[in-house]
Protein backbone atom coordinates (compact mmCIF):
# COMPACT_ATOMS: atom_id res chain seq x y z
CA UNK A 1 0.00 0.00 0.00
CA UNK A 2 1.26 3.47 -0.88
CA UNK A 3 0.52 6.46 1.36
CA UNK A 4 0.23 8.90 -1.55
CA UNK A 5 -2.54 6.83 -3.14
CA UNK A 6 -4.44 6.55 0.16
CA UNK A 7 -3.97 10.29 0.50
CA UNK A 8 -5.49 10.79 -2.97
CA UNK A 9 -8.66 8.97 -1.87
CA UNK A 10 -8.82 11.07 1.30
CA UNK A 11 -8.41 14.29 -0.68
CA UNK A 12 -11.11 13.22 -3.15
CA UNK A 13 -13.64 12.75 -0.32
CA UNK A 14 -12.59 15.87 1.55
CA UNK A 15 -13.28 17.84 -1.65
CA UNK A 16 -16.63 16.10 -1.89
CA UNK A 17 -17.50 16.93 1.74
CA UNK A 18 -16.68 20.58 1.12
CA UNK A 19 -18.89 20.81 -1.94
CA UNK A 20 -21.73 18.42 -1.15
CA UNK A 21 -24.26 19.74 1.36
CA UNK A 22 -25.70 16.22 1.79
CA UNK A 23 -22.43 15.12 3.37
CA UNK A 24 -22.47 18.09 5.78
CA UNK A 25 -26.02 17.14 6.80
CA UNK A 26 -24.94 13.50 7.31
CA UNK A 27 -21.90 14.45 9.35
CA UNK A 28 -23.34 17.10 11.65
CA UNK A 29 -27.09 17.54 11.32
CA UNK A 30 -28.31 14.03 12.10
CA UNK A 31 -26.00 13.43 15.11
CA UNK A 32 -27.10 16.76 16.61
CA UNK A 33 -30.77 16.11 15.87
CA UNK A 34 -30.54 12.67 17.51
CA UNK A 35 -29.15 14.15 20.70
CA UNK A 36 -31.78 16.91 20.80
CA UNK A 37 -34.63 14.39 20.34
CA UNK A 38 -33.33 11.81 22.81
CA UNK A 39 -32.51 14.55 25.29
CA UNK A 40 -36.07 15.90 25.29
CA UNK A 41 -37.52 12.41 25.40
CA UNK A 42 -35.32 11.46 28.38
CA UNK A 43 -36.26 14.61 30.28
CA UNK A 44 -39.94 13.89 29.68
CA UNK A 45 -39.53 10.33 30.97
CA UNK A 46 -37.72 11.41 34.12
CA UNK A 47 -40.37 13.98 35.13
CA UNK A 48 -42.10 12.39 38.11
CA UNK A 49 -41.63 8.86 36.77
CA UNK A 50 -39.26 7.76 39.57
CA UNK A 51 -36.61 6.63 37.11
CA UNK A 52 -33.18 5.85 38.48
CA UNK A 53 -30.60 8.66 38.66
CA UNK A 54 -28.36 8.95 35.65
CA UNK A 55 -31.14 7.90 33.28
CA UNK A 56 -30.63 10.94 31.05
CA UNK A 57 -26.87 10.30 30.96
CA UNK A 58 -27.45 6.71 29.90
CA UNK A 59 -29.85 7.73 27.16
CA UNK A 60 -27.58 10.48 25.84
CA UNK A 61 -24.41 8.39 26.15
CA UNK A 62 -26.13 5.61 24.24
CA UNK A 63 -27.44 8.03 21.59
CA UNK A 64 -23.97 9.50 21.07
CA UNK A 65 -22.30 6.09 20.74
CA UNK A 66 -25.01 4.73 18.45
CA UNK A 67 -24.78 7.80 16.23
CA UNK A 68 -21.05 7.23 15.98
CA UNK A 69 -21.54 3.57 15.03
CA UNK A 70 -24.30 4.26 12.53
CA UNK A 71 -22.46 7.21 10.92
CA UNK A 72 -19.30 5.18 10.44
CA UNK A 73 -21.08 2.29 8.75
CA UNK A 74 -23.19 4.60 6.57
CA UNK A 75 -20.30 6.88 5.58
CA UNK A 76 -18.19 3.93 4.46
CA UNK A 77 -20.85 2.68 2.09
CA UNK A 78 -21.93 6.16 0.96
CA UNK A 79 -18.35 7.16 0.09
CA UNK A 80 -18.26 4.21 -2.28
CA UNK A 81 -21.74 4.98 -3.63
CA UNK A 82 -20.58 8.53 -4.41
CA UNK A 83 -17.98 7.10 -6.81
CA UNK A 84 -20.55 4.73 -8.20
CA UNK A 85 -23.13 7.44 -8.88
CA UNK A 86 -20.66 9.61 -10.76
CA UNK A 87 -19.19 6.64 -12.71
CA UNK A 88 -15.72 7.38 -11.37
CA UNK A 89 -14.77 3.79 -10.54
CA UNK A 90 -13.30 3.05 -13.98
CA UNK A 91 -11.15 6.17 -13.72
CA UNK A 92 -9.95 5.18 -10.26
CA UNK A 93 -9.33 1.50 -10.86
CA UNK A 94 -7.61 2.02 -14.19
CA UNK A 95 -4.82 3.67 -12.18
CA UNK A 96 -2.37 1.83 -9.90
CA UNK A 97 -4.78 2.48 -7.01
CA UNK A 98 -5.40 -0.82 -5.23
CA UNK A 99 -8.75 -1.66 -3.70
CA UNK A 100 -7.07 -1.95 -0.27
CA UNK A 101 -5.75 1.62 -0.66
CA UNK A 102 -9.17 2.80 -1.73
CA UNK A 103 -10.80 1.22 1.34
CA UNK A 104 -8.02 2.53 3.64
CA UNK A 105 -8.59 6.08 2.33
CA UNK A 106 -12.32 5.79 2.92
CA UNK A 107 -11.72 4.52 6.48
CA UNK A 108 -9.60 7.59 7.29
CA UNK A 109 -12.29 9.87 5.86
CA UNK A 110 -14.95 8.09 7.93
CA UNK A 111 -12.91 8.46 11.12
CA UNK A 112 -12.55 12.20 10.45
CA UNK A 113 -16.26 12.59 9.77
CA UNK A 114 -17.24 10.57 12.84
CA UNK A 115 -14.97 12.73 15.00
CA UNK A 116 -16.67 15.87 13.70
CA UNK A 117 -20.12 14.38 14.36
CA UNK A 118 -19.07 13.15 17.79
CA UNK A 119 -17.79 16.57 18.77
CA UNK A 120 -20.98 18.26 17.55
CA UNK A 121 -23.26 15.77 19.35
CA UNK A 122 -21.19 15.96 22.55
CA UNK A 123 -21.27 19.75 22.49
CA UNK A 124 -25.07 19.78 22.19
CA UNK A 125 -25.45 17.16 24.95
CA UNK A 126 -23.27 19.29 27.20
CA UNK A 127 -24.86 22.65 26.33
CA UNK A 128 -28.50 21.55 26.34
CA UNK A 129 -28.60 18.74 28.89
CA UNK A 130 -25.45 19.23 30.98
CA UNK A 131 -24.21 15.80 29.94
CA UNK A 132 -20.45 15.96 29.68
CA UNK A 133 -19.12 12.86 27.93
CA UNK A 134 -15.45 13.81 28.27
CA UNK A 135 -14.86 12.64 31.88
CA UNK A 136 -16.21 9.25 30.78
CA UNK A 137 -14.14 9.06 27.63
CA UNK A 138 -11.14 7.11 29.01
CA UNK A 139 -13.50 4.27 29.93
CA UNK A 140 -15.68 4.69 26.83
CA UNK A 141 -12.85 4.66 24.29
CA UNK A 142 -12.34 0.86 24.25
CA UNK A 143 -16.09 0.38 23.67
CA UNK A 144 -16.09 3.09 21.01
CA UNK A 145 -13.16 1.37 19.30
CA UNK A 146 -15.17 -1.86 19.25
CA UNK A 147 -18.19 -0.05 17.82
CA UNK A 148 -16.05 1.48 15.07
CA UNK A 149 -14.44 -1.84 14.22
CA UNK A 150 -17.82 -3.49 13.90
CA UNK A 151 -19.10 -0.56 11.81
CA UNK A 152 -16.01 -0.97 9.64
CA UNK A 153 -16.66 -4.69 9.15
CA UNK A 154 -20.28 -3.97 8.21
CA UNK A 155 -19.24 -1.10 5.94
CA UNK A 156 -16.78 -3.34 4.10
CA UNK A 157 -19.34 -6.12 3.71
CA UNK A 158 -22.04 -3.72 2.44
CA UNK A 159 -19.58 -2.07 0.04
CA UNK A 160 -18.76 -5.53 -1.29
CA UNK A 161 -22.44 -6.26 -1.81
CA UNK A 162 -22.91 -2.97 -3.67
CA UNK A 163 -19.94 -3.88 -5.89
CA UNK A 164 -21.74 -7.08 -6.78
CA UNK A 165 -25.40 -6.00 -6.87
CA UNK A 166 -24.73 -2.30 -7.74
CA UNK A 167 -27.16 0.47 -6.84
CA UNK A 168 -30.09 -1.97 -6.73
CA UNK A 169 -29.25 -2.53 -3.07
CA UNK A 170 -27.83 0.88 -2.22
CA UNK A 171 -30.55 1.43 0.41
CA UNK A 172 -28.55 -0.97 2.61
CA UNK A 173 -25.96 1.77 3.02
CA UNK A 174 -28.42 3.79 5.08
CA UNK A 175 -30.51 1.03 6.60
CA UNK A 176 -28.35 -1.94 7.47
CA UNK A 177 -27.21 -0.68 10.89
CA UNK A 178 -30.89 -0.08 11.73
CA UNK A 179 -31.54 -3.81 11.35
CA UNK A 180 -29.16 -4.42 14.25
CA UNK A 181 -30.75 -1.82 16.53
CA UNK A 182 -33.12 -4.16 18.39
CA UNK A 183 -30.37 -6.64 19.27
CA UNK A 184 -27.74 -3.98 19.93
CA UNK A 185 -29.62 -3.03 23.13
CA UNK A 186 -28.74 0.63 22.84
CA UNK A 187 -31.28 2.04 25.28
CA UNK A 188 -32.16 -1.07 27.33
CA UNK A 189 -30.20 -3.92 28.91
CA UNK A 190 -29.81 -7.25 27.12
CA UNK A 191 -31.69 -8.87 30.03
CA UNK A 192 -34.87 -7.10 28.93
CA UNK A 193 -34.99 -9.12 25.69
CA UNK A 194 -36.68 -12.53 25.35
CA UNK A 195 -34.21 -15.34 26.04
CA UNK A 196 -33.79 -16.43 22.40
CA UNK A 197 -33.09 -12.84 21.36
CA UNK A 198 -30.57 -12.42 24.19
CA UNK A 199 -28.48 -15.21 22.65
CA UNK A 200 -28.41 -13.28 19.38
CA UNK A 201 -27.68 -9.98 21.15
CA UNK A 202 -24.61 -11.45 22.87
CA UNK A 203 -23.19 -12.20 19.43
CA UNK A 204 -23.24 -8.47 18.61
CA UNK A 205 -20.16 -6.40 19.54
CA UNK A 206 -22.58 -3.46 19.75
CA UNK A 207 -24.58 -5.08 22.60
CA UNK A 208 -21.36 -5.64 24.57
CA UNK A 209 -20.31 -2.03 24.05
CA UNK A 210 -23.64 -0.63 25.22
CA UNK A 211 -23.76 -2.96 28.21
CA UNK A 212 -20.24 -1.84 29.11
CA UNK A 213 -21.19 1.81 28.68
CA UNK A 214 -24.16 1.38 31.04
CA UNK A 215 -21.89 -0.27 33.63
CA UNK A 216 -19.54 2.70 33.47
CA UNK A 217 -22.34 5.26 33.81
CA UNK A 218 -23.87 3.29 36.68
CA UNK A 219 -20.57 3.58 38.53
CA UNK A 220 -19.64 -0.10 38.18
CA UNK A 221 -16.42 0.77 36.35
CA UNK A 222 -14.94 -0.54 33.12
CA UNK A 223 -16.00 -4.10 32.25
CA UNK A 224 -13.12 -6.02 30.63
CA UNK A 225 -15.50 -8.91 29.94
CA UNK A 226 -17.73 -6.82 27.69
CA UNK A 227 -14.71 -5.26 26.02
CA UNK A 228 -12.95 -8.55 25.25
CA UNK A 229 -16.13 -10.24 24.09
CA UNK A 230 -16.74 -7.32 21.74
CA UNK A 231 -13.13 -7.36 20.54
CA UNK A 232 -13.14 -11.13 19.97
CA UNK A 233 -16.38 -10.99 18.00
CA UNK A 234 -14.99 -8.10 15.98
CA UNK A 235 -11.94 -10.13 14.98
CA UNK A 236 -14.28 -12.81 13.60
CA UNK A 237 -16.62 -10.36 11.84
CA UNK A 238 -13.74 -8.33 10.44
CA UNK A 239 -12.03 -11.43 9.04
CA UNK A 240 -15.32 -12.56 7.51
CA UNK A 241 -15.96 -9.10 6.02
CA UNK A 242 -12.50 -8.90 4.43
CA UNK A 243 -12.77 -12.43 3.01
CA UNK A 244 -16.26 -11.71 1.70
CA UNK A 245 -15.14 -8.42 0.13
CA UNK A 246 -12.11 -9.99 -1.57
CA UNK A 247 -14.25 -12.78 -2.96
CA UNK A 248 -17.06 -10.54 -4.16
CA UNK A 249 -14.67 -7.95 -5.67
CA UNK A 250 -13.06 -10.66 -7.79
CA UNK A 251 -16.53 -11.89 -8.72
CA UNK A 252 -17.45 -8.35 -9.81
CA UNK A 253 -14.30 -8.14 -11.96
CA UNK A 254 -15.01 -11.52 -13.53
CA UNK A 255 -18.56 -10.53 -14.36
CA UNK A 256 -17.46 -7.13 -15.67
CA UNK A 257 -19.52 -5.31 -13.06
CA UNK A 258 -16.75 -2.89 -12.20
CA UNK A 259 -17.20 -1.23 -15.59
CA UNK A 260 -20.98 -1.44 -15.66
CA UNK A 261 -21.74 0.12 -12.29
CA UNK A 262 -25.14 1.84 -12.31
Amino acid sequence: MKIHRINAVIVRHVYEARRNFDRVIDTVWWPVLDIVMWGFFSIYLTHGKGLQPGFISMMLGAAILWTMFYSFQRDMAVAFIDDLWCRNLINLFSTPLMVSEYIAGIIVVCILKVMVGLLAASAIAWAAYSFDIFPWLPQFIPYMANLMLFALALGIAITGMIFRYTTKIQALAWSFAGLLMPVSCIFYPVSSLPKWLQDIAWMMPTAHSFEGMRDVLAGKGFSPVHFWWGAGLNVIYFALAITFFGWIFEKARTRGLLVKQE
Partner: protein
Protein backbone atom coordinates in the same frame (compact mmCIF):
# COMPACT_ATOMS: atom_id res chain seq x y z
CA UNK B 1 6.82 -5.93 -28.18
CA UNK B 2 5.28 -3.43 -25.73
CA UNK B 3 1.89 -5.12 -25.51
CA UNK B 4 1.30 -8.79 -26.14
CA UNK B 5 -2.23 -10.18 -26.06
CA UNK B 6 -2.47 -13.94 -26.50
CA UNK B 7 -5.64 -15.94 -27.04
CA UNK B 8 -7.72 -13.53 -25.01
CA UNK B 9 -11.26 -14.74 -24.39
CA UNK B 10 -14.08 -13.32 -22.33
CA UNK B 11 -17.42 -15.00 -21.96
CA UNK B 12 -20.45 -13.78 -20.06
CA UNK B 13 -22.49 -16.94 -19.67
CA UNK B 14 -22.98 -18.27 -23.19
CA UNK B 15 -22.05 -14.97 -24.82
CA UNK B 16 -18.52 -14.64 -26.22
CA UNK B 17 -17.69 -10.94 -25.88
CA UNK B 18 -14.06 -11.52 -26.90
CA UNK B 19 -13.13 -14.76 -28.62
CA UNK B 20 -9.51 -15.92 -28.85
CA UNK B 21 -8.06 -12.51 -29.70
CA UNK B 22 -4.29 -12.19 -30.16
CA UNK B 23 -2.27 -9.18 -31.20
CA UNK B 24 0.86 -7.24 -30.32
CA UNK B 25 1.76 -3.56 -30.24
CA UNK B 26 5.25 -2.26 -30.93
CA UNK B 27 6.72 0.63 -28.91
CA UNK B 28 5.77 4.03 -30.30
CA UNK B 29 3.02 2.64 -32.49
CA UNK B 30 -0.46 4.13 -32.82
CA UNK B 31 -2.77 1.23 -33.44
CA UNK B 32 -6.45 1.50 -34.18
CA UNK B 33 -9.07 -0.93 -32.98
CA UNK B 34 -12.13 -0.87 -35.15
CA UNK B 35 -15.38 -2.72 -35.17
CA UNK B 36 -19.10 -2.19 -34.88
CA UNK B 37 -20.81 -1.71 -31.53
CA UNK B 38 -20.56 -4.90 -29.49
CA UNK B 39 -17.51 -6.13 -31.40
CA UNK B 40 -15.50 -6.46 -28.18
CA UNK B 41 -13.27 -3.37 -28.43
CA UNK B 42 -14.12 -1.86 -25.05
CA UNK B 43 -14.12 -5.25 -23.31
CA UNK B 44 -10.63 -5.87 -24.71
CA UNK B 45 -9.45 -2.49 -23.41
CA UNK B 46 -11.01 -3.18 -20.01
CA UNK B 47 -9.21 -6.52 -19.84
CA UNK B 48 -5.93 -4.85 -20.76
CA UNK B 49 -6.55 -2.45 -17.86
CA UNK B 50 -7.37 -5.33 -15.52
CA UNK B 51 -10.88 -3.98 -14.87
CA UNK B 52 -12.37 -7.21 -16.20
CA UNK B 53 -10.81 -10.60 -15.57
CA UNK B 54 -10.31 -12.57 -18.77
CA UNK B 55 -11.91 -16.01 -19.01
CA UNK B 56 -8.68 -17.23 -20.60
CA UNK B 57 -5.63 -15.92 -22.38
CA UNK B 58 -2.66 -13.78 -21.37
CA UNK B 59 -1.80 -10.11 -21.43
CA UNK B 60 1.73 -8.86 -20.96
CA UNK B 61 2.69 -5.20 -21.05
CA UNK B 62 6.25 -3.84 -20.82
CA UNK B 63 7.29 -7.49 -20.57
CA UNK B 64 5.29 -7.99 -17.36
CA UNK B 65 2.19 -10.05 -16.78
CA UNK B 66 -0.97 -8.04 -16.19
CA UNK B 67 -2.27 -10.81 -13.97
CA UNK B 68 0.55 -10.50 -11.44
CA UNK B 69 2.11 -7.05 -11.88
CA UNK B 70 -0.92 -4.89 -12.54
CA UNK B 71 0.09 -2.04 -10.20
CA UNK B 72 3.55 -1.59 -11.73
CA UNK B 73 2.15 -1.70 -15.25
CA UNK B 74 -0.59 0.82 -14.54
CA UNK B 75 1.97 3.31 -13.18
CA UNK B 76 3.19 3.67 -16.77
CA UNK B 77 -0.03 3.61 -18.71
CA UNK B 78 -3.30 5.49 -18.75
CA UNK B 79 -6.76 5.40 -20.19
CA UNK B 80 -9.66 7.61 -21.03
CA UNK B 81 -13.09 7.32 -22.51
CA UNK B 82 -15.85 9.90 -22.82
CA UNK B 83 -18.20 7.29 -21.34
CA UNK B 84 -16.66 7.43 -17.88
CA UNK B 85 -17.04 10.46 -15.69
CA UNK B 86 -15.58 12.38 -12.81
CA UNK B 87 -17.16 13.39 -9.50
CA UNK B 88 -19.37 16.16 -10.81
CA UNK B 89 -19.36 18.46 -7.78
CA UNK B 90 -15.57 18.72 -7.79
CA UNK B 91 -13.86 21.29 -9.99
CA UNK B 92 -11.63 20.33 -12.89
CA UNK B 93 -8.58 21.22 -10.82
CA UNK B 94 -9.74 19.19 -7.81
CA UNK B 95 -10.43 16.14 -9.95
CA UNK B 96 -7.06 16.34 -11.64
CA UNK B 97 -5.32 16.90 -8.29
CA UNK B 98 -6.72 13.57 -7.08
CA UNK B 99 -5.13 11.78 -10.03
CA UNK B 100 -1.91 13.77 -9.68
CA UNK B 101 -1.70 12.41 -6.11
CA UNK B 102 -2.42 8.87 -7.24
CA UNK B 103 0.56 9.13 -9.62
CA UNK B 104 2.60 10.92 -6.94
CA UNK B 105 3.62 13.82 -9.19
CA UNK B 106 6.25 16.13 -7.72
CA UNK B 107 4.79 19.37 -9.10
CA UNK B 108 1.15 18.51 -9.67
CA UNK B 109 -0.10 22.06 -10.11
CA UNK B 110 2.43 22.89 -12.81
CA UNK B 111 1.67 19.63 -14.64
CA UNK B 112 -2.08 20.25 -14.48
CA UNK B 113 -1.71 23.80 -15.77
CA UNK B 114 0.42 22.53 -18.65
CA UNK B 115 -2.15 19.88 -19.59
CA UNK B 116 -5.09 22.28 -19.30
CA UNK B 117 -3.31 24.58 -21.69
CA UNK B 118 -2.43 21.76 -24.09
CA UNK B 119 -6.09 20.80 -24.39
CA UNK B 120 -7.37 24.39 -24.36
CA UNK B 121 -9.35 24.28 -21.15
CA UNK B 122 -7.34 26.52 -18.83
CA UNK B 123 -10.33 28.75 -18.28
CA UNK B 124 -12.34 25.79 -16.96
CA UNK B 125 -9.87 24.99 -14.16
CA UNK B 126 -12.10 26.16 -11.31
CA UNK B 127 -15.41 25.11 -12.84
CA UNK B 128 -17.35 22.17 -11.42
CA UNK B 129 -17.45 19.14 -13.73
CA UNK B 130 -21.27 19.29 -13.63
CA UNK B 131 -21.15 22.60 -15.47
CA UNK B 132 -19.04 21.36 -18.39
CA UNK B 133 -20.23 20.30 -21.83
CA UNK B 134 -19.57 16.73 -23.04
CA UNK B 135 -16.68 17.94 -25.18
CA UNK B 136 -15.11 19.78 -22.26
CA UNK B 137 -15.49 16.67 -20.11
CA UNK B 138 -13.75 14.63 -22.78
CA UNK B 139 -10.82 17.04 -22.68
CA UNK B 140 -10.61 16.80 -18.88
CA UNK B 141 -10.41 13.02 -19.40
CA UNK B 142 -7.53 13.55 -21.83
CA UNK B 143 -5.72 15.73 -19.27
CA UNK B 144 -6.13 12.87 -16.79
CA UNK B 145 -4.86 10.39 -19.38
CA UNK B 146 -1.65 12.37 -19.96
CA UNK B 147 -1.13 13.11 -16.25
CA UNK B 148 1.59 10.50 -15.67
CA UNK B 149 3.25 10.92 -19.07
CA UNK B 150 2.29 7.35 -19.94
CA UNK B 151 4.32 5.00 -22.11
CA UNK B 152 1.08 3.34 -23.18
CA UNK B 153 -2.21 5.13 -23.68
CA UNK B 154 -5.54 3.40 -24.20
CA UNK B 155 -8.12 5.71 -25.73
CA UNK B 156 -11.69 4.61 -26.18
CA UNK B 157 -13.27 6.95 -28.74
CA UNK B 158 -11.31 9.97 -27.51
CA UNK B 159 -12.80 12.37 -30.04
CA UNK B 160 -16.45 11.48 -29.46
CA UNK B 161 -18.44 14.61 -28.52
CA UNK B 162 -15.71 16.92 -29.83
CA UNK B 163 -16.32 19.46 -32.55
CA UNK B 164 -14.03 19.12 -35.62
CA UNK B 165 -11.70 21.91 -34.51
CA UNK B 166 -11.15 20.49 -31.01
CA UNK B 167 -10.93 16.95 -32.41
CA UNK B 168 -8.20 18.17 -34.73
CA UNK B 169 -6.31 19.69 -31.77
CA UNK B 170 -6.64 16.45 -29.80
CA UNK B 171 -5.38 14.35 -32.72
CA UNK B 172 -2.39 16.65 -33.05
CA UNK B 173 -1.68 16.39 -29.31
CA UNK B 174 -1.71 12.60 -29.64
CA UNK B 175 0.57 12.65 -32.67
CA UNK B 176 2.92 15.04 -30.86
CA UNK B 177 3.08 12.73 -27.85
CA UNK B 178 3.89 9.82 -30.12
CA UNK B 179 6.56 11.74 -32.03
CA UNK B 180 8.20 13.52 -29.10
CA UNK B 181 7.96 10.97 -26.32
CA UNK B 182 7.37 7.76 -28.20
CA UNK B 183 4.00 7.20 -26.51
CA UNK B 184 2.33 4.03 -27.70
CA UNK B 185 -1.39 4.46 -28.32
CA UNK B 186 -4.22 1.97 -28.71
CA UNK B 187 -7.11 3.84 -30.18
CA UNK B 188 -10.75 2.99 -30.82
CA UNK B 189 -13.01 5.20 -32.87
CA UNK B 190 -16.00 5.14 -35.16
CA UNK B 191 -14.53 7.93 -37.22
CA UNK B 192 -12.88 6.12 -40.11
CA UNK B 193 -11.12 9.17 -41.58
CA UNK B 194 -9.55 9.80 -38.21
CA UNK B 195 -8.33 6.22 -37.90
CA UNK B 196 -6.90 6.32 -41.43
CA UNK B 197 -5.00 9.49 -40.57
CA UNK B 198 -3.80 8.44 -37.11
CA UNK B 199 -3.02 4.74 -37.32
CA UNK B 200 -0.48 2.88 -39.37
CA UNK B 201 -1.97 -0.41 -38.29
CA UNK B 202 -5.50 -1.52 -37.49
CA UNK B 203 -7.10 -4.45 -35.72
CA UNK B 204 -10.60 -5.08 -36.99
CA UNK B 205 -12.91 -6.86 -34.55
CA UNK B 206 -16.32 -8.36 -35.25
CA UNK B 207 -18.40 -10.53 -32.92
CA UNK B 208 -15.43 -10.66 -30.52
CA UNK B 209 -12.98 -12.03 -33.12
CA UNK B 210 -10.14 -10.39 -35.02
CA UNK B 211 -11.24 -10.52 -38.64
CA UNK B 212 -8.34 -8.56 -40.11
CA UNK B 213 -5.15 -6.80 -39.09
CA UNK B 214 -2.81 -4.60 -41.07
CA UNK B 215 -2.49 -1.14 -42.51
CA UNK B 216 -5.66 0.69 -43.58
CA UNK B 217 -5.05 -0.28 -47.20
CA UNK B 218 -4.36 -3.91 -46.31
CA UNK B 219 -7.56 -4.05 -44.24
CA UNK B 220 -9.49 -2.48 -47.10
CA UNK B 221 -8.21 -5.01 -49.62
CA UNK B 222 -8.62 -7.97 -47.29
CA UNK B 223 -12.23 -7.28 -46.37
CA UNK B 224 -13.47 -5.86 -49.67
CA UNK B 225 -11.56 -8.63 -51.46
CA UNK B 226 -10.45 -6.37 -54.30
CA UNK B 227 -7.46 -4.25 -55.27
CA UNK B 228 -7.71 -0.64 -54.11
CA UNK B 229 -5.29 2.26 -54.35
CA UNK B 230 -6.65 4.14 -51.33
CA UNK B 231 -7.95 2.90 -47.98
CA UNK B 232 -11.74 2.88 -47.70
CA UNK B 233 -12.40 2.04 -44.09
CA UNK B 234 -15.92 3.41 -44.08
CA UNK B 235 -16.85 1.04 -46.87
CA UNK B 236 -15.09 -1.77 -45.01
CA UNK B 237 -17.01 -0.95 -41.86
CA UNK B 238 -20.36 -0.97 -43.65
CA UNK B 239 -19.49 -4.22 -45.39
CA UNK B 240 -18.73 -5.87 -42.06
CA UNK B 241 -21.78 -4.49 -40.29
CA UNK B 242 -24.08 -5.57 -43.13
CA UNK B 243 -22.74 -9.06 -42.85
CA UNK B 244 -20.85 -9.37 -46.11
CA UNK B 245 -17.61 -10.20 -44.37
CA UNK B 246 -16.50 -12.62 -41.65
Amino acid sequence: MLVKVENLTKTFGEFHAVDDVSFGIEPGEIIGMLGPNGAGKTTTIHMILGLITATSGRISIFGKSMATERGEILEQMNFTSPYVAFPFRLTVLENLMVFARIYNLRKPRARIDELLERFGITKLRDKAIARLSSGENTRVGLCKAFMNDPRLLLLDEPTAYLDPEIAWQVKNALLDAQREKGTTILYTSHNMDEVERMCKRIIFLHHGKVIATGSPIEITQAILEEEREEPALEEVFLRVVRGKAA
